[in-house]
């Protein structure tokens, strides 16, 4: 009779979820699943609302990455208006999106994952937390705060506030950039560059200690997908892209499977499946079918599919990163590394855009009535490609909404990663901290964002149960 280990909820990810580990009669891991137990209902909730509300409504999906939804939603609304937004507006949206990537990656790396990286997966759980990091490595903790602040301040300067800025609107942005704001952001760039380069240097120094985790943390062949920027001069090189561009798919060997795909045609290549055990949808690559059509999105995917980043310092780091392995990097543990390279790129690229001559242009919004009944907006969120797909009626009211979030794209890959880790580390029927932390840590590599929303006092952070063959409780761990 099989047994089941339940980890509920998984901590230090955005949202609520649990992991079940199925043991067979021999006590070996037969299967493992990552379940999202939180139902949001945004796709239904938005039906009947005016489409102009969608950017600010969908930004409420998450308190960590509201800008990603704001940008993708505004782009979908641009499509409904059938307008080409002013170039300066597109650049300002790019800056805000990159600031979002910087602050979100900083949260993931410094606050969620650095305790594991600093103290090791078997470190004392009493110290393996952010306060432990403050005590043992205060510079790392302060650098994390400062880098997150760098991104948050840019969002606040552009949008008027850090969380849920209603600044990206259908047709562009609501306000142009002022000279003093530009100077303020530019003045903060040198320190941010210093901090991320210091962090990269530290991380590369400790990487060797995680050889086993690199080998076992979601290290398997799969496809990768992201937006890329075609080189402006027509050279066939794809640059790192977070706002616009075309979709590219590469396989586990690094071969291009699909390129120059108009993101508006995503449904030709991606389909979605639903599992009864989770509220998180499972998108898959249509040509390979379900569940074989696994692909990964996010920082690792983005660095795997490009030909270069497009900024000098990030290109240097990217070259070193890609030298870790011939072909593409398959281990999901390297998502951490990829995040740091993307932070560096984000800071450099923000500086580049701010120095473009038309960045202070006052023309930042195109006005129009709806001209299309269907609109699709795509952007790269910190965790991967984000699709917003709306249909409206003749009054501009939303008829249907389809959102494919980055964490959804990674759902199949996260399940396979949990199974790989569980098969390697879970032994016997007793729960051990180090083993459980590795199961959770592999999920944290993907930095899943499960639409963290309702939170109030009185919830248990972690409850783990080991259930025996007859449903009896074999072991139990509560962490508070």
């Amino acid at each position: 009779m099989p047994k089941e280990i339940l980890i509920d909820p998984v901590t230090r990810i955005e949202g609520h979820s649990k992991i079940t580990i199925q043991l067979n009669d021999s006590g070996e891991v037969e299967d493992a699943r990552f379940h999202v137990t939180q139902f949001r209902g945004f796709e239904k909730f938005c039906e009947g609302r005016p489409f102009t509300e969608m950017p600010s409504l969908t930004a409420r999906i998450c308190g960590i990455c509201p800008v990603s939804h704001l940008i993708a939603s505004a782009k979908a609304c641009d499509a409904l208006l059938a307008v080409r937004i002013p170039p300066t507006a597109a650049k300002l949206r790019q800056i805000m999106n990159l600031a979002q990537v910087v602050q979100s990656h900083a949260l993931s790396f410094f606050h969620l994952s650095s305790p594991d990286l600093l103290f090791g997966m078997d470190g004392d759980p009493a110290k393996r937390n952010i306060l432990g990091v403050v005590e043992a490595h205060p510079t790392l903790a302060r650098d994390g705060i400062a880098l997150r602040k760098f991104g948050q301040e840019i969002i606040a300067l552009l949008g008027g506030k850090r969380i849920h800025p209603a600044w990206a609107v259908p047709g562009g942005v609501s306000e142009p950039l002022t000279e003093d704001k530009r100077e303020k952001i530019l003045a903060s760039v040198p320190e941010a560059l210093l901090l991320i380069e210091r962090t990269l240097s530290w991380f590369k120094g400790v990487l060797e200690q995680f050889r086993e985790e690199i080998r076992m943390f979601g290290n398997f062949p799969s496809m990768f997908m992201a937006l890329v920027t075609p080189h402006p001069n027509g050279i066939h090189q794809a640059f790192l892209e977070h706002y616009d561009g075309v979709l590219r798919f590469v396989d586990a060997a690094g071969n291009i499977v699909l390129d120059q795909v108009d993101p508006l045609r995503y449904q030709d290549y991606i389909a979605e499946s639903v599992e009864p055990s989770s509220y998180l949808k499972s998108p898959y690559f249509k040509a390979q079918g379900y569940p074989d059509g696994i692909y990964r999105v996010g920082p690792l995917a983005r660095l795997n599919i490009i030909d270069r980043c497009g900024t000098p310092r990030a290109d240097q780091e990217w070259t070193e990163f890609r030298a870790l392995r011939r072909g593409v990097i398959l281990s999901s543990f390297h998502q951490h590394y990829a995040r740091l390279v993307e932070i560096l790129y984000g800071i450099e690229r923000i500086e580049q855009i701010l120095n473009e001559p038309d960045i202070l242009d006052q023309h930042v919004r195109a006005f129009a009535e709806p001209n299309q009944f269907e609109g699709i907006g795509v952007a790269e969120a910190p965790r991967g490609t984000l699709f917003h797909h709306y249909q409206i009626d003749e009054n501009g009211l939303i008829k249907s909404v389809n959102l494919i979030i980055a964490t959804g794209h990674n759902n199949l890959a996260m399940n396979r990663s949990v199974k790989q880790v569980a098969q390697h580390y879970v032994k016997g029927s007793h729960l051990q901290e180090g083993m459980l932390n590795r199961v959770e840590a592999v999920i944290r590599c993907f930095d899943p964002c499960l639409s963290c929303s309702t939170h109030a006092i009185g919830r248990m952070p972690l409850h783990i149960q080991l259930i025996g063959p007859e449903g009896e409780l074999l072991d139990e761990v509560k962490r508070n």
Binding site: T11, R12, I13, E14, G15, R40, G41, F42, F45, L57, R60, C62, G63, I64, P66, L107, H111, L112, P115, N129, I130, L131, G132, V134, E135, P138, A141, R142, G144, I145, R148, K149, Q152, R162, I163, H164, C452, S453, T454, H455, A456, I457, G458, R459, P461, L462, R479, N480
Partner: protein, 158 residues
């Protein structure tokens, strides 16, 4: 006047979870001033440790699962050395105060106002019994800010 930070947090599209936003929105019209900073945030995030460290009084306003819907309470809170495993998924008020203390050696006087909620379903409306207590809570926070400022001024003089 004491430097005061009021943080209302929650999700305004999840029914009563948005009460913190509604309360600080009303409060902003009442106690606007250079020394009073008011924030409405989705969740408590680590960088809030910095404005906390620059404050003399911090007031958190949140919805709670516990208690009779519409009932509310205020308690003084302080870092207690305990760390929640939730960590940066979201910080608890005590966890965030501990973070501010560890990073910036700052321990402002802090209050947590918890309002027992009725519904966390998808909605941009508050329950009627929650709506009804908001004026009292806004008034209470205003009084706390004034009182603390007076005490601080008195301490500074003496």
């Amino acid at each position: 006047m004491a430097r005061t930070l009021v943080i209302g947090y929650g999700n305004p599209l999840r029914g009563d979870d948005g009460l913190g936003w509604r309360i600080v929105d009303r409060l902003a019209k009442m106690v606007a001033g250079e020394k009073t900073k008011i924030l409405a945030v989705h969740q408590l995030t680590p960088e809030l440790a910095e404005p906390i460290s620059a404050s003399d009084l911090v007031i958190f306003v949140d919805a709670s699962y516990q208690g009779e819907p519409g009932s509310w309470r205020c308690e003084a809170i302080a870092p207690n050395g305990e760390v929640s495993n939730a960590l940066a998924h979201y910080f608890t008020p005590v966890g965030l105060l501990g973070y501010a203390d560890a990073l910036f050696r700052a321990r402002p006087r802090s209050l947590l106002i918890s309002v027992a909620a009725l519904s966390f379903d998808c909605s941009d409306q508050l329950s009627s019994n929650i709506e009804a207590v908001i004026p009292d809570i806004v008034q209470y926070i205003g009084t706390q800010i004034s009182w603390f400022s007076q005490i601080s001024a008195h301490s500074a003089v003496t």
